[in-house]
Amino acid sequence: MRPFQYLRPDGLDHAGQQLIDGARPIAGGTNLLDLMKLEVETPDQLVDLNQLPLGGIDETDAGGLRIGALVSNSACAADPRIRRDYPVLARAILAGATFQLRNMATTGGNLCQRTRCYYFYNIDQPCNKREPGSGCGAIGGENRIHAILGASDACIATYPGDMAVALAALDATVQTETLKGGTRTVPVREFHRLPGDTPEKDNVLEDGEVIIGVVLPPPVSGKQLYRKVRDRSSYAFALVSIAAIVRMEGEAIGSASLAFGGLAHKPWHDPRIDALLAGQLPSDALFDQAADLLLEGAEGQGSNDFKIPLARRTLLAVLREATGGAA
């Protein structure tokens, strides 16, 4: 690990000022310290946010919940209100990592976790995300875990997390404190970016901007599911995952909100799918149309071609279960 200066800010403003070019914030540290050991991340300063008052899960005036940025993944998944009213979020968190890691990992940090692309992790390999302009080793290389949607010529990495996929289905909002001292809110669906020609930027956070919390909208009725398909049954990243919130109205689908993990550089949400399903009677023909929309621009890279049929089958299984049919 390269040497760094360890800093503890006195407050949020101070943290923003310390987060200058070359500095990185640390909370749980489970991803950042791993990357620092590999010298994928080489910050000059480490700004420890853990003393800042960013904990707690509180009810909002709107009837939802606000999760502080430093709330651990374990505490979030164990919260009785989240288990009762937002089970898709609890399920998604519990589908990721291990108890040890979730005890350390935080809500804000989890949103900012970085891709598990093999080339990003290996500093002897080219990677435009790690070293802009060096090329992409995954294109034409090992790309089993890579994106089938929204990739670019510069980067085909995926966002690896589970929690953010559930937050995208719930249409939650990220709250930040900007360097200028104001609060900014960004929908989770717009927080992560597609790689384009600047894959070094995972999300829309600006320099000195700190995540302070995540706001959940008021609870909605309906069935909430998180299905994760992975190479082993525990402690593995998603090849394909789906967060689904589906409300039935009699025999028909009243409303649906779906988000997808493992497919792109961000949790994938396609509003056309939600619109297609609303008001329709559930059937495999309808679910296939939803999959057609999802996979309209899908492009395999060789080793990850299997994700295209896998995403379709997973979507069908989730929609059958969510609408009351056999899974």
């Binding site: 540290g29 609890a90 519990l94 291990t98 040890q100 890691l101 525990s234």
Partner: protein
């Protein structure tokens, strides 16, 4: 910066790069905690921080200001073994023993998590009472690898310790 390890006070003023794991082993001589992968994948370095199990390789010593750390040395001794340790011996819950301190710290925390009603990925009812079935134990212990593959005996040992704990009430 001061912290408590197994009830004793320690002062840390070393290199900020020092992981909690390296500090425990090299700084405090508490070599019961093991370094396996050093990347949070194997769980050999599992210790309790403020009662919760964590990978000590993925946190810095300097970040533990005011925290209470418990290592395997604080869980039991040769003369006064924790019921989990005794059960691991009885059931051969190891072969080489390298992962065992992490397994025991992890299992200790798992039992507390279950009592607090924390669900896992395989729990059917998120709001129901947690029953630590074999399937639940496997899922909850998936952050602790055993290269020798003593898993079935590890589960037997954990179940015996849980039964003893319940009978002691």
């Amino acid at each position: 910066m001061s912290l408590t390890i197994n009830g004793q006070s320690y002062e840390f003023d070393g290199d900020p790069r020092t992981s909690l794991l390296d500090y425990l082993r090299d700084g405090c001589g508490l070599t019961g905690t093991k370094k396996g992968c050093d990347h949070g994948q194997c769980g050999a370095c599992t210790v309790l921080v403020n009662g919760q199990r964590v990978n000590s390789c993925l946190t810095l010593a300097i970040m533990q200001d005011g925290h209470a750390v418990t290592t395997i040395e604080g869980i039991g001794t040769l003369e006064a073994m924790d019921p989990l340790q005794a059960a691991f011996v009885k059931h051969d819950g190891y072969q080489c023993g390298y992962c065992t301190p992490g397994q025991i710290c992890s299992a200790k925390a798992m039992m507390a998590e279950a009592e607090n009603g924390w669900a896992s990925f395989v729990t059917d009812d998120l709001e129901g009472e947690v029953v630590l079935t074999d399937e639940e134990i496997r899922e909850r212990m998936s952050g602790n690898l055993c290269r020798c593959g003593a898993y079935s005996n590890i589960i037997d040992a954990i179940k015996e310790a849980m039964t003893q704990q319940q009978e002691a009430r």
